[in-house]
Symmetry: C5
Subunit: 308 residues, 5 copies
């Protein structure tokens, strides 16, 4: 995710880092070349005429395309924002569970008991992040989990769910020891269900892309439209065709490119969610409630404005 | 559902499998032929002139149609995504119920008791899938349910609901035996209500299509528009008419075709939900929490990129 | 509601039953006549010229109208779908209550007691349907309720709410008799609140139409637009004007007509919800959980594709 | 709110009462005059030419404006419908609380106790309505509340919240008297939280208008557009300009006017919510559950189709 | 936030305070100058011709841009409204917790105990506001919190969460002292979870802007479009170009500017949420339930129509 200080309206026009412009440059150059060909063909510099004489059909298809692209954007953004909400709920549930461990037991718990709970709780966002990004969780889990729990989690196929089960077992242990009364067990159960919803929700988004036919069709329409546009513009705007065609192509291609990035919000593209930073925040927020200092390792800082 | 590795922007233009293009080819060829006729009529190759001289009315109707089609898409996609969310909730509830069986009882349950519960729970997604797809559940249910329960379920008219009732009876049995306290019964009840919502939600989507008049009207407008468009384009873009008319027709027809596929998300079209794969994942996730190995039968793998 | 088997794309173009076309024919014929007049006036067959020379203002108003109509459609469809969801929730709550009656009591209840409960529960969807459609519930209630309860319900002004209260009283009776513990009372209470939300939600949709000024304004704009369109088209497309004007009028009028039908989802128009069929399904689903056969009276079957 | 019987499509074109047309007439007349000036200037009846020669820029701005206006409408309608849902929830919570008072106590309550509760409950919608409309609640509260409670409520700054607190105190009194067990207290608590959400939700909508800059900007754009449109139309449609300009102005101005009315749903404009009628319905529904007759004062009836 | 009395439609056209017009004036002046250049170049006053001869490509890009801008607006407004809802929920939860403290304990609590609770509760909105606006909470917290709690909160990194934990500890203290039974603890727990959701929701919105690439791309498209528009208009509308170009630029730039303001709803721009006023209202509403007078310091009043 790109975090930039609020930019002056003029400087924003020139922003480079974090925009999709760098990635699109080669394609835009291609459109530029096609425009040059269109101008040349129109001015009889080329032996063939490819002139379409009219912008009207392009208006029709361009505006229709904008409507369809608007829908695609909306759906992609909804996925991205739902993913962010799920990670926000993960923070909320972590805080609520922390509060419950600190305040619901009917008698003070031994420190090693609560430490076990918070170890598993603080490992959960990291386990979920590694699952969603298909990366290796060993390092993060080793650093946080006691050996026995680590051994159990590392061989499970759905590591965050296993941690969630462990939290439930911890509650059961305290309940059987008489430290947590049956009502409080239900309160824990409610928040563990919440964790379950978060984990399952993220897995759902990660495993179910937008219908493929949809993405393909929009993609094709955008590129065919942009590639043929110069031939429609050249008769009315002549040598301004390259500027205009590249501008329109930028608008449509950039929309499609951003939608395609944020559609998979758990990746590591510039516009994906900064799961590293969010996991660190969740852990830090839990430690703050426990009165502990910030993590020894620094919180991720934006590098060149980018958080990952 | 089509699961494809992330494609390079250029290769995506050429994607065949999973796009609706193959299915639309005959209709697009029809539009192509109509365009040829329009060109021929315009160039006085045919004795009649069908020339409309103007693209303007087509812009009007085309853009209005894009707006209406945009709404249809939105509604269809919402059904598809709600269906996916319901199946995601089925996973969440299964995990929560699993955790509750393992951690809420006040004393360890005999293994055969928990096995009965998990048998019914793991059969539930399969029963629901077969009900939604109107396919025969005998094989999947035989493999998972004890004989007595199978006999009861197979004659019921709403099999997933019967399984859900059985889970409730199991909880009652344990409660009467004193293994589950009244508070924990309530926790189970909450998640069984959740299952009830999932089952009922899927039945609702499956039994209530979009208003028929709506689908018919959009369908008619799209095809009439595409079939008459060549006559509107031919005066301004001449021999480019076939290319353009087919392109516009592809955009509109593909939108309509995809919307009509995902509107019934429980079918087995390419863009429908991969209920087989999701059921297997739910079962696998439950088994993982129980510390059991993956299913002996392999998880469904995409064939030619398609999961069903 | 119209339930049709999946139609081939070509046969769908010709669908008659369930489309709004039959109802619109007279109005479309009017537009056709206006178009003839426009053509005649333009071709100097009439002594006056009504020619507008241009399609441009019609594009402007037509596309703006499509956007506004899109909003109206969206709002109407949301009402329709929310109504369907409420009836789906009614099924879910009925199933959950059935499960709770069968599994939550701490000791088996006498059969006549549970029969009383299920009588009231199965009468509820019928009572709600008759209230929403302002039809006479006597027959359906007599067939399902014991005489005393029938007498009480039939004089109440909000019959479904009275049935819901009766269900609460039944729970209280069992609780005072010691058959249902206080925790289980809470579980029932939660689902009775759910019933209350369903009943109130349906009443809200039925009693609050879209703002009237909105419907009137859209209606006027659509008809004025359609009636004046031929004069704008005639100069550019000449004798094709009648075809085109009728086509555009069909698109806009049909949208408006469908939106106006589904806006009141509890009516008995073709595109309204099939409350008869849904009530029967809810009752059937409850009977299935009780292990009872389907209703003696057959479930409503589509007649000429229509369920009501 | 305007409640009209379902109108024939033709009579709906002429509807006067409840449409915003009467209010817009002076402004539309202004547009008519501007159009006359535009025609006169174009026909050289005026010494200056104000002719813009083209409709194209107006199409651009008009369609863009339709999109923005569509968004404004959507946001306003969402506020209106959310407000209606909150009042619907008020009915639901009132019914649920009534059911709970009648069925949750472990022993029959003295009639004067329940009467106190229902007095406060039936006064609540009236207190909320008067707060939202900034009107004087004295009369409605005097008629429903016992003197002591009235004295307390009338001096409080947030009257509905004070009534809600009183309901909580009533529950506490019964609980301390042993008539309501701790579990049932929680059930009441849940519904009192629901009341709290309703009250707070209404206060939120009433105190937070749409961002002012937004409303101003849309308003300006609509009126500037409508006022300049005649000069853009006159060259292409000549003497039809006044008809068309007034028609387009009606469409855009009416949209803006309706959006601006329903944006504040608690006012007393024609299209605002009929809070009087809804409050009466809530009270009537509660009385019906108690087996009491309808209110002696008649339920508000539409006058000239309008409920307030 | 700008709170203005309902304005007459004509006076609204001239509103200055609270509109984004003042801020945009320099940029609009720039567009005006560009328009002058375009007119001059077209009229051969300049040695070069920059004339594009046609509005068509601008219609295409302008309408597409309106669709994209509409999406951006929608997303920004959703953030703003969700933020407002979260603060509304903060009021609701505060009221519910107040009611619970006053009515759930099984015996009257000593006044100093409840005062501790309400001190923390009334400090919470202020702590949240200062966190979201990154301002210094010392003054507001000192005025409300007892010294010990202040010392603890001021060093914590997430102050509202620490206050929420303190409320949980208070409940635990009362529960261990026997004043609050286990059921009531659960009721408190539910509302404390609600507080947790509010705090986390606000932090989520504050820490996650819209995808940066999105904002940049829309921004660039708007400004490039507005800057080149005069060259497209000048051929058709001549000397009216400056008026029209500035008008269109105002519409698009103002949309973009407002969207960019409300996207960060916790700032202190004119259109951001009036967190000062809302915090004061929350505190005042709590005091009202306690029967206390309004705060000695006056509630924030709009200055020049602006609340902050």
């Amino acid at each position: 995710m790109i975090i930039r200080p609020h930019l002056h309206w003029f400087r924003m026009l020139l922003a480079w880092r974090g925009s999709v412009l760098p990635r699109l440059l080669p394609r835009l150059f291609l459109i530029f070349c096609i425009s040059i060909i269109a101008v040349a063909a129109h001015d009889h510099l080329l032996p063939v005429s490819l002139n379409l004489n009219t912008t009207a059909p392009f208006s029709l298809i361009g505006i229709a395309l904008a409507v369809f692209l608007g829908f695609r954007n909306n759906a992609s953004y909804d996925r991205w924002w739902e993913a962010r909400k799920l990670w926000g709920q993960l923070l909320n549930e972590s805080r609520s569970l922390t509060r419950e461990v600190l305040t619901l037991p009917s008698r003070p718990l031994p420190k090693e008991d609560t430490q076990e709970f918070f170890a598993a709780l603080s490992a959960l966002p990291h386990a979920l992040r590694h699952q969603l990004r298909k990366s290796d969780p060993t390092e993060d889990l080793t650093a946080r989990l006691p050996q026995a729990l680590f051994n159990r989690v590392i061989v499970s196929r759905y590591k965050p769910a296993t941690l969630m089960l462990y939290l439930g077992e911890w509650v059961q242990r305290q309940a059987r020891a008489g430290a947590i009364d049956p009502m409080a067990v239900i309160a824990f159960d409610r928040n563990l269900n919440g964790l379950s919803d978060v984990i399952g929700g993220c897995e759902r988004i990660a495993s179910t892309p937008l219908p493929f036919a949809y993405s393909v069709m929009i993609h094709r329409t955008v590129y065919f439209f942009c590639a043929s546009l110069p031939f429609g513009l050249v008769d009315s705007i002549g040598i301004f065709t390259p500027v205009f065609a590249v501008f329109v192509a930028y608008t449509f291609m950039a929309h499609e490119a951003i939608a395609s990035q944020i559609e998979e919000p758990f990746g590591t593209d510039d516009n994906d969610l900064a799961l590293n930073a969010i996991s660190a925040t969740i852990e830090d927020a839990t430690r703050d409630l426990l009165g502990e200092a910030s993590l020894p390792m620094p919180k991720p800082q934006p590098e060149d404005y980018a958080l990952d």
